[in-house]
Amino acid sequence: MTEHPNHETQITIEGFEQVDSLVSSVTVYAPKSKPSEEEQSRVYDCPNCGATTAYDVAGGGVACEHCGYISPVKSKTLGKIADEFEFTLETISQAERGWGIKRQGLHCNACGAELSLPQGVISTSCPYCASNQVNLTTSLEVFIQPRFLIPFKITIEQTHQLSKTWLGKGWFHPDELSASSVIRRFSGIYLPFWTFDANVTAHWKAQVGYQKTVRHYNASQKRWETRTKIEWRWENGTVPINIDDHLVTGSSSQHISHKILEQIYPYQMKDLTAYHPDYLAGWQAQAYETTLTDAWETGKQAIREAAKEACYQDIPTSHVRNFSMTADFADESWRYILLPVYLAAYKFEDKTYQIMVNGQTGLVAGQKPVAWWKIWLAIGAFLLPGLILGLIGLPLLLVGGAGILPIGAGIILFGIGIVLSIMLYNKARQSEAK
């Protein structure tokens, strides 16, 4: 039989590379691992004129302001099919390690300066040579790298217009707010988010009450009477709940107001795009501060509350007692993504207020000062009708029994006025809150 020397080395299957074998007489080839090009530090300058380039929202590519050169981003919009990752024990133990507190150093590849970046900052521009740089390795302590993002769709110019309109809305704010407030420059930033998917099977068990009308004979009144009573029965049920792209912010609440952030939700995940450093050129980007496990804990708590709500929906009546349930999680997966947000602050009468704009949908949210005199006036208007009716009724009561009617109506109107006042007051306070 003829020998075929070197036949092991003849394997040239495209996309495969030799890996370690645990058996000496066997060679093993595995699919090539993708080159991790995004981990290299990148400097953005124009191939035409050498000026600094940045991602241009309107142009949808990296553009040079100086000469007009533009190169489109080579990345695919993936939408909902963007990979989701499992909660493997390996991921969890690595995620729990989190990241250290040391500040990150970045070597400017353009001018050679050594830069010191705040924790978690992914992209920057060099203060010495003004080059825009994107470097994931600067956040080396971050184990998980973002794999997807939604690019900015709203331009800075649109943002100003949207926020002006937003400031003009609502009657209980100062009239001159829209005209006289000075919005400091909006800065576009990619903020870190976790999205979670899961299939939850909820089983509930409870005593469910059914209202029954019973007829009984009242011996003293000598007549039949009816009254309602509640009959309790043990029941149980199963509710399947599909959780799709549940969003949990990866930013610490010390830096970003979660309350305002949640008001600019939702983001349309159909625009989810494979991460490419070009999108970050000239824009700020922040790595996560809340670890995967902490974010999942937050997400899970929200999901199980949603499951509980779904169980209550499943119960046919509103009378429930001794309620218990289990929520069984399955097919859990996560994504680490960057979402576009414009942050700004504006000054009004020497006070600073925060404002955020959804960089994808243009939804605006933020703090708005309140013209309190308008609130007090409104509250007065709410309470006045009841008071007046009461005042009319009182003397009538002294004269004869007829006063009972306006007093009764007055008390009811006053009650309604109190409720409306409290609601308005709270709304006004919310509007100024951080």
Binding site: Q18, S25, V26, V28, Y29, L89, S324, T326, D328, A330
Partner: protein
Amino acid sequence: MMVQQVTPLKIIEEGQRLWDSDRQPAGCTHCHRTFLAHDSHIDSSCPLCRIGHLEPQALQINPAEPERMLPFRIKTEHLRSIFTQFSSGVWIKPEDFTTENLFQRTQKIYWPLWLVDSDVKGQWQMEAGFDYQVESSKEYFQDSQWRSRKIVEDRIRWEPRLGGIKYHVDNVPVPALEEHQNRQQMTGAYRLENAGPFHLDQSNDALIEAPDLPPTDAWPLAKPQVNKKLSQVCAEASGAQHSRNFSITAKYQNLNWTQFLLPMYTSYYQDDEGTPQILVINGETGEIQGPRLASQKRGWRIAAIIGGIAAVLLLLALLGFLISPIFPPASILAVFSGIFGFTAGIGALIPAIWPSQWNRKNQSPVIIKRD
């Protein structure tokens, strides 16, 4: 596919002795199964059909001593209880179907498998399965409070792998009998990992059955077994715990065929017609298998005896009736013997019908497993 046989088969002449022992080739005059028999086995009845007898004859086999054997773990002293358990389920047994008869007629046999060695050189590919664990959770809500329990689940991640292999596969068991599948079904499974090297003296009191499936015919059955072994090697090389869709293009060289012997007992009893019914016991696990028949003949005989008693009782009843006008107390006798006679008459039907019903249900061999 060219198969190179390192161990060619050789004609062993009639009366020629093997392995420095008195074993010589022999065959059954009825079922033509072949054995390597001691002198004492010659002219005895064939343990696998009990119709023909063993006669010396020439055989074309591998003359080398077997390489490995699985020893008898079930000793002869265990057999009585196995036979008793087997026969105890039958009510009206053939006279020949006794524990003692079965025990006396027991024959120890080693039956063969091939063990194939081969040098394999080629290219393989498969999906390699890697174990990993994921964390899941179950949340409990009771008394207005949430409790959380973490659950770890095992999963397999499948990834493509391919590569080259140059490997020596050793001792892959392969069928050596035409009727291998049938035989395997009769004996039940063996735990091959309990096997040891072949010792001639350990096989002294047993017949050794000779292979009748030559390596050229056994190779198509052997190749998938060899490849299965190779898939395990390739999975191990890849650091994987599982493999699937394994395929290999390879040259199989230096094939070496040796024998592996498995222990079994046979015994038999004769049914009503005098036909031998063969029982097979797995010598390693004690599993017994064979037809378990009742005797229709004995059924008729018992029915006849009970029927006779019934007839006598009915006659007595008739007599009692006849003399009751003259002697009134005789009517009591008549009534009682009438009742008993009638009952016995019906009872006689049971042994008459039962054997044929039982045999209809027990046509196929009965298996009794031991642990």
